[in-house]
Amino acid sequence: MRWSSGLLSRWQCKGKFMLQIISLLVENKPGALMRITGVLSARGYNIESLTVARTLDPMLSRMSIVVDVDPSLRAQVIKQMNKLINVLQATDLTDGPAVTREMALVRIRTALNSRTAILKEAEIFGARVVDQSTEGFALEATGDPEKLDEFIAVMQSYGDIDVTRSGTVSVSLEKKKLRLAPPIPRGAGAENGRAKEEETV
């Protein structure tokens, strides 16, 4: 997997496909995750990373998904996700102004004589030591995904490592208006289910 550098995410082509980053605001309900990943798996797309956590409103979750999608189908995937009843908003952050970050926890086993060098390298990458023992270190690094790739490659050169990456989290730098459907009063008007007027293209 190749990641581009820079503050704004600019994914490069990976073979025929291209990594797409999708940000979703979803209802915090059982089955919501399954519906969303179903949109992708039903089309044979592989998820590269996925993160979910609650938002300020505990009823809602924010999801960031990185997925390999044929560029011509990106818009269709977003539309299909927006169609899901549990999804309040799906946005494609691939080209938009957005900040993308990921965290990696790296455990490295190393001989005593390379410890100083490792700490120096870690400092260059802005990584912190979160645990140390006679066997080695556990390091925490945060950055854009490509920087983490580099960090991990460097650490690998010092010895045996275990890596756990958090997956990408992303935030749009644009303010997007969140449109929600109003509550539908039950009774005479609701019978045929035609909701209130809402204009769209």
């Binding site: 059982p30 539309k79 169609k83 009843i85 309040l88 908003q89 459907a181 609701a190 909701a195 204009e199």
Partner: protein
């Protein structure tokens, strides 16, 4: 409790099959006014509910038990999803405590049906039940309709609670776009008047939205030729002078040539299905496209729309018609010469290669059969069909002068749909003459439902178009697989007279063309159900035909030497 929710949703009729975990529900139904129709297989419960929904536009309801009951619903649910039919399926689930323990008749219905439904629910407490049921009905019927499943554990059925009416439905993520964009609507009307060769391509969305009158007004205002897709037959009456026919793989020459040569394609409630478009790159190559659909995900899915409008096609057409009429005094005459020439061209195509029924003195041609049924129906009867050759011939030769008369499995193409959907349709419309036209293959998939028909004395006229083969597959084997007929011969068809007799109604076989008319008339006269087995010519193929992957103007018209187009 559940039944009270259903009463509030004005449900009159449920098609279902009971089982262990739905016992509490069935006990409550014992002395409840909601009618339950016992089918003989859960798949047919869903098909019957679809027949009910397709014939009326109201939500069809079906019910099955946990495990095998729920898994048997799956085909029906996908069928409803593909054709955008409002259905609510209620399934029982094992007691909450047992979920996930591989209990008897347990299946992960919620997981299995996730991709088979527009939305689904697993209700965990009786307090959640009313909201789930009302949301299910709302989701099923609104926007682009579809199936919704509510999975209910046995202890929730048993839970005692008072029904408190739900005031409002909160679905913040479910946006339904109805009105359409005012600017786009105006531009659409302008494009329509500017076009020299406009062509209306109307589909099932017109029927779902109840927009037939608006479609008719549009077509008449523009005086444009129009086609109805397989799902849209009846949207514009078949006898309307502007109606061309059905387009697509087995569509007419005029319909497909019109789509290919037009300069403005007015696509209304359609999804540019591959069976209509053929090779997409060659579909309507000269046309700008106006696409009206209630589902934003349909816009630009297969064909890029030059002018997309997301909205309820009924509302959008009302508004387009208004603008068209406003603009008419200035614009109507602008391209009238070109439009007259266009109509002349379309009529020439129509005359050049009309859809003509074939007749023979020695055997009954399938087209002859359809023509005879059409004579009795007069474009007024409800016709349900299965899937295959008979479906295509019926779509080609039967007239439908109202919407909601032609019920068939379009998107999914599920065999076995014809008979159970007729049951649903007959319950929904007891006043209507219902023909169920089925092939000998699909009929044998749904034979158990003869018992349901007999039980209720439903006066359905079952017409089996019997060619002794799985005809459509045979046709493809003949044309594309060197006529190596593999596993398509249906030997052993039962004697219809004995079969119907076993269920207590009448049936017979007709083989001679001369007897066909009187046999059909006798079937219609019969007050109860009737099974008419019609032996038709075995090796007849459906033409015109666009080979899969071909462009729709590259039609094949018959087995003989291709005639120069």
């Amino acid at each position: 409790m559940l039944l009270e929710c259903l009463v509030h949703e004005k449900v009159e009729c449920i098609f279902g099959y009971p089982g262990g975990v739905t016992l509490p529900l069935y006990d409550a139904m014992y002395d409840h006014p909601i009618r339950h129709v016992l089918v003989r297989h859960e798949q047919n419960a869903c098909f019957a509910a679809e027949g009910y929904a397709r014939a009326t536009g109201r939500v069809g309801v079906c019910c099955a038990t946990s495990g095998p009951g729920a898994t048997n619903l799956v085909t029906g649910l996908v069928n409803a999803l593909m054709d955008s039919i409002p259905v609510v399926a209620l399934t029982g689930q094992v007691t909450s405590k047992l979920i996930g323990s591989d209990a008897f008749q347990e299946a992960d219905t919620f997981g299995i049906t996730r991709s088979c439904t527009k939305h689904n629910f697993l209700v965990k407490t009786v307090a959640d039940l009313p909201a789930a049921i009302h949301e299910a009905f709302y989701i099923a019927a609104s926007g682009r309709p579809g199936p919704v499943l509510v999975d209910i554990p046995k202890d929730v059925f048993q839970g005692q609670a008072h029904y408190t009416p739900v005031d409002a439905i909160h679905l913040p993520g479910y946006k339904v776009f109805t009105e359409g964009h005012t600017g786009q609507i105006r531009r659409a009307a302008q494009m329509m008047w500017e076009a020299q060769r406009p062509f209306v391509y109307a589909g099932g969305g017109i029927i779902a939205a109840g927009a037939s009158a608006e479609l008719r007004e549009l077509v008449e205002t523009l005086d444009a030729p129009a086609v109805n897709t397989l799902m849209g037959l009846g949207a514009l009456p078949s006898t309307h002078p502007n109606f061309v026919s059905m387009p697509g793989m087995h569509g007419s020459y005029a319909a497909n040539m019109g789509l290919t040569e037009c300069d403005l394609l007015i696509a209304l409630g359609v999804r540019f299905d591959d069976r209509v478009t053929g090779r997409l790159a060659a579909f309507a190559p000269h046309a700008r496209v106006i696409h009206v659909d209630i589902d934003p995900a349909e816009i630009g899915k297969n064909r890029t729309a030059d002018l997309p409008i997301v909205g309820d096609v009924k509302r959008v057409l009302e508004r387009i018609n208004k603008v068209l009429n406003e603009l008419a005094p200035a614009d109507r005459e602008k391209n009238s010469g070109a439009r007259r020439a266009w109509w002349k061209q379309v009529r020439e195509w129509k005359n050049e290669r009309p859809l003509k029924p074939e007749f023979s003195d020695s055997e009954i041609k399938p087209q002859h059969l359809m023509a005879e049924i059409d004579r009795l129906s007069g474009g007024q009867a409800i016709i349900t069909s299965d899937v295959g050759q008979h479906q295509m011939w019926a779509a080609q030769f039967l007239r439908f002068n109202e919407p909601r008369l032609w019920l068939n499995s379009g998107g999914l193409g599920s065999m076995g749909f014809g008979l159970p959907s007729a049951i649903g349709a007959q319950f929904a419309r007891p006043d209507k003459l219902v023909f169920s036209i089925v092939g000998d293959g699909g009929f044998q998939m749904s034979i158990p439902e003869l018992a349901t028909i007999a039980n209720h004395g439903l006066p359905i006229k079952i017409v089996v178009m019997n060619n002794g083969y799985l005809g459509m597959v045979r046709q493809w084997q003949e044309l594309f697989y060197n006529n190596r007929l593999s596993a398509v011969e249906l030997a052993g068809f039962p004697d219809p007279e004995k079969l119907a007799g076993a269920y207590g109604f009448k049936g017979r076989t007709v083989e001679q063309p001369g007897e066909l008319r009187s046999a059909l008339e006798a079937a219609v006269k019969e007050p109860g159900p009737y099974l008419l087995n019609v032996r038709v010519s075995q090796y007849e193929n459906v033409y015109p035909m666009v080979p899969a992957g071909g462009a729709i103007n590259e039609m094949v018209f018959g087995p003989a030497q291709p005639v120069a187009v």
